[in-house]
Amino acid sequence: MDLSFVILVEMLYAVASLILIGAGLAVVFGMMKVINLAHGEFMMMGGYATITAVNLGVNVFVAMLIIAPLIVGLIGLVVERLVIRHLYGRLVDTMLATWGLSLFFIGMTTMIFGNTTTGISTPIPGFAVGSYQINGYNFFIIVVSVLLLIGILAVLKTTRAGLVARGAMQRADMAASLGYSPDRIYMATFFCGSALSGLAGAVLAPLVGLVPTSGGAYIAKAFITVIAGGPSLVAGLLSSAGFFGIVSQIFTFAISPVIGEVALLVAAVILLRLLPQGITGRFLKGRL
């Protein structure tokens, strides 16, 4: 009984963290068809922003939920203006340029913070379920990712800004002729995507020892989750994160964490082979 509860929490946590990792990339890819390979580094910078803010005496939740997304969002804004904006519609070129950016940011962070591991302790204490110990912070991550999904859905579905953004993604020329500037909408969307990456990195920061290269650990998972999810943003993210999270946790509990990771990757290869357009390319078509 206790064990099954622990496994359930761990599975929810795995799904939630995949959603969190993938969200920023999904906004940028799903809306703008730009694959941001510097996504992992955006998350890494979110983590560093949090740790720096906490060390300066800011409350840890303020640092995580407000400061880190803002800082990373602003960095994303600069990147969009300087680099990405020239490459819209050239998928492979954006991938290469953002890969270059990711290397650039790794180098930059190494120069500023040094090549050492930094970290903060988790702000929520753990508790015992029967004879097992559960990390209380896992619940926080689950809550954040649920709120995140609801938030994205609400913004896209119910607000005027969401409507305009969706319209501009479908037909930029039509949106332009109706008086909205696609250039500005892309800019704002990229800002939101980067801010989400920053948030994810910040929220996950207390769980990992942060080094300048930790972005690499996120990018592959984020990339796989988003691509396997397919064209629709929320439904794709939810379905693929659910699938991969559960697969990797089953193998983690049954065999070992390393096999769990490998199982996730193998599942991704098989899934893409069977559904080359992603899960929502086949099912749940046309949903958000």
């Binding site: 680099v83 950016l101 990711s102 290397l103 180098g107 592959a220 990339f223 290869v269 893409l272 080359p276």
Partner: protein, 345 residues
């Protein structure tokens, strides 16, 4: 791509002979050897990406696979000839299987990128976790994160005690690169190579003309992997150790940067890009002011933005504009009309 194959071959032999003679006078052969090996690795991706249009994010997987195959086989056999052959064959077969899975599933650009990336990651994670004593192939322990040291390095075929090392090893690598280069040239001039370029340009049209696009892409992918595997085996001999870092993402990234900077769709570009950037990295490694990765990243971004075709095609078109005899494009017309006006007036 003008001129005949034999002219091409003679030119290659002359140029590479001169380079092999001159370069050791400027750069130490130990460094030069690894530049040549990277050049071969760059050429392997340049072939499948530049001429086949297959963007492989995991060329490092085949490089690492070649190195590991060589190391494991060399420990078990104790002589280097068979391991060298295996180091070419194993990545090629692996790539053929992987390629068949991808191309017969009609996966294209981004999805191809994801799968090759993921396969590289699987190998990286797996190799990192093989530290325990149960991970043994024959006599070779996989060693996990620490890799496999202390295997038999390259020797004269048939004589396990006659090691090839130092300057001699540089000559072996350089000649190997020249041979691979000639073979790649020959492949590209064959009908297979021309069809491959056609597939890059317009896959549907080539398929409608009756060629089996999937099989051709798979074969090309395997050929690229074979070259990468050979480079990996040579690298294992040079470094005398193989570690999981050969499979790392940064290794894959670097190969792509070499191709972009050197120039896609040329044979020479990826080689020069690889050797040049690796040497730049070597020089930058001697100072600690600016981080190495930062500069590599900056180079990639700037090239994608300002010179997406790479150095070699840009130089080639500059050469053609300046010295070419055939009228090519507007500049010549402008110049000619200007001349005519000059003589007329």
């Amino acid at each position: 791509m003008t001129g005949s194959l034999s002219r091409d071959m003679i030119l290659t032999i002359i140029v590479s002979a001169i380079l092999i003679w001159i370069m050791p006078l400027m750069i130490a052969t130990y460094t030069l050897t690894v530049l040549v090996i990277y050049g071969m690795l760059g050429l392997s991706l340049g072939l499948i990406w530049g001429f086949g249009g297959i963007l492989c994010f995991g060329q490092a997987a085949f490089f690492g696979l070649g190195a590991y195959t060589y190391a494991i086989a060399a420990i078990n056999i104790g002589e280097s000839t068979v391991p060298m052959i295996l180091a070419v064959l194993v990545p090629a077969i692996f790539a053929a299987l992987l390629g068949a899975m991808m191309f017969y599933g009609r996966l294209t650009d981004v999805y191809l990128g994801v799968i090759t990336l993921v396969v590289t990651l699987i190998l990286f994670k797996f190799m990192n976790s093989t530290a325990g004593p149960q991970y043994v192939i024959g006599k070779a322990r996989m060693g996990g994160f620490n890799g496999i040291p202390g295997f038999q390095t390259l020797n004269v075929p048939g004589d396990p005690d006659a090691y090839i090392w130092g300057d001699a090893y540089f000559y072996v690598c350089a000649v190997a690169l020249a041979i691979v280069f000639v073979l790649v040239s020959a492949l590209l001039r064959s009908s297979f190579g021309r069809v491959a370029v056609g597939i890059r340009e317009n896959e549907t049209r080539i398929a409608l003309m009756g060629y089996d696009v999937r099989a051709r892409k798979t074969v090309l992918f395997a050929v690229g992997a074979a070259i990468a595997g050979l480079a990996g085996a040579l690298f294992a001999n040079w470094g005398e150790i193989v570690t999981p870092n050969l499979f790392s993402l940064s290794q894959s990234a670097e190969i792509i940067i070499w191709c972009i900077v050197g120039g896609l769709g040329t044979r020479l570009g990826p080689i020069l890009g690889a050797a040049g950037l690796a040497y730049l990295k070597f020089l930058l490694g001697q100072q600690s002011m600016i981080d190495n990765t930062l500069i590599m990243g900056l180079i990639l971004v700037l090239f994608v933005l300002f010179l997406p075709r790479g150095i070699v095609p840009a130089l080639a078109s500059l050469w053609r504009i300046s010295f070419g005899r055939r009228p090519l494009g507007r500049i010549h017309q402008v110049r000619r009309t200007r001349n005519r006006e000059g003589t007329g007036g």
